[in-house]
């Protein structure tokens, strides 16, 4: 019953985002993107061609009865599994199809879907494989969801940061690198800065990142990312400022 309730809620969601007619189903790649694709299969009852935009690639999947019949086409890819009806009797083809989609999702930062009319595919007797079976076969957690913005930012850029503090509410939950200096800045400067900023910019709301070039000398940079109760203060080389800012904008926009 709860599964049905979840599906009805998903179908009636008003929070959906569309880009060029395609519905955004994941603002993340990897297992989150593949899980989102499987969830789309799981809610598709009538036979349709689901066209997924996975990063720069396009995958057309034939879906019916909440089951994947096969991959009709995959832009820029040639593989024996493309165009083949998927069956448990042919595990190699099934595994190859999963590997293709997984590889695309690993490189993607966004996955979108369009539902298009059916196209000729396979034989009439092909039943396809259910989304839950695919999840099991491909080792995908169907409930995988994107990390919160601050955690996503740190997960994506941890290797570029010379140090960071993760903060939930008033508690520091993780420290990496030169945490003492960052802790001092957080305790003695950030809270005062935020208070003064709110007094100036009264309409400011939602997730925000403040990024400073040179606060610890030339070539240094410090950013403070905040979303809800989560925050992160991190240090990095100033030549990363534009890349990290653009990444944050992509995460929160």
């Amino acid at each position: 019953m709860s599964a049905l309730t979840d599906k009805l809620a998903a179908l009636s969601s008003e929070d959906e985002v569309f880009v060029s007619g395609a519905r955004v189903i994941a603002q993340d790649g990897g297992s989150v993107g593949l899980a989102a694709i499987l969830r789309e299969i799981d809610v598709t009852v009538l036979e349709r061609t689901l066209v997924f935009t996975i990063g720069d690639a396009t995958a057309s999947l034939i879906v019916a009865g909440r089951r994947l019949k096969g991959i009709l086409a995959l832009s820029g890819q040639e593989d024996p599994s493309i165009g083949q009806a998927l069956s448990r009797d042919e595990p190699e083809t099934l595994e190859a199809a999963g590997s293709l989609l997984s590889a695309l999702c690993d490189k993607a930062t966004r996955v979108m879907v369009r539902s298009e009319p059916i196209q000729p595919f396979g034989k009439g007797g092909d039943a396809g494989i259910s989304a839950s079976s695919l999840a099991e076969f491909w080792s995908v957690d169907l409930n995988a969801r994107p990390l919160p913005p601050v955690a996503r930012f740190v997960a994506a850029h941890g290797s570029k940061l010379s140090g960071y503090l993760l903060i939930e509410g008033n508690d520091v939950t993780e420290t990496v690198g030169d945490a003492d200096a960052l802790r001092l800045i957080w305790d003695e400067q950030v809270l005062a800065l935020r208070k003064n900023q709110k007094a100036i910019v009264k309409t400011q709301s939602g997730a925000q990142m403040l990024c400073f070039d040179g606060p610890m000398g030339e070539g240094t940079a410090i950013a403070i990312a905040m979303a809800g109760d989560d925050a992160c203060i991190c240090a990095f080389s100033s030549d990363q400022i534009t890349a990290l800012t653009a990444s944050w904008q992509a995460i929160v926009s």
Binding site: C211, D213, P215, M216, G217, T242, Q249, V252
Partner: protein, 120 residues
């Protein structure tokens, strides 16, 4: 003219809305791009935020040194403040849509500021 440099920068980047050349020592906006629709109060607030984040004489917002640039990246707006290398009181305040090309805009804004501040 300063306004021509600001207009050229603004017209080069989709999503760039307001550019203001300011003097941090007096906390006054001196010139804005001609297409800005920001009211005076918003420009004053922009200048105050520049002073807060970059730091004015005797004040430091974050860390141990005054920052040469500060970027406020929000869900609905990107604000950039940067100070000129030779005249630290000369600052450029920028208000952009969040989807502006950050990687292209920031170096271009830096070049514009140095040009204006240097009197070129």
């Amino acid at each position: 003219m300063v306004v021509d440099a600001l207009d050229a920068l603004q017209s080069s980047f989709a999503g760039c809305e307001t550019l203001a050349f300011a003097d941090l020592s007096t906390q006054m906006i001196l010139v804005t791009n001609s297409a800005t629709t920001s009211p005076r109060e918003a420009l004053d607030a922009l200048c105050k935020e520049a002073a807060l984040t970059l730091g004015t004489k005797g004040t430091i917002a974050i860390g141990s040194d005054q920052s040469t640039a500060a970027i406020i990246a929000g869900e609905d707006q990107l604000r950039v403040f940067m100070r000129a290398s030779e005249e630290p009181a000369d600052v450029l305040c920028c208000v952009c849509q969040p989807d502006v090309d950050v990687a292209g805009f920031i170096p271009a804004a830096r070049a514009c500021l140095e040009q204006i501040s240097g009197g070129a």
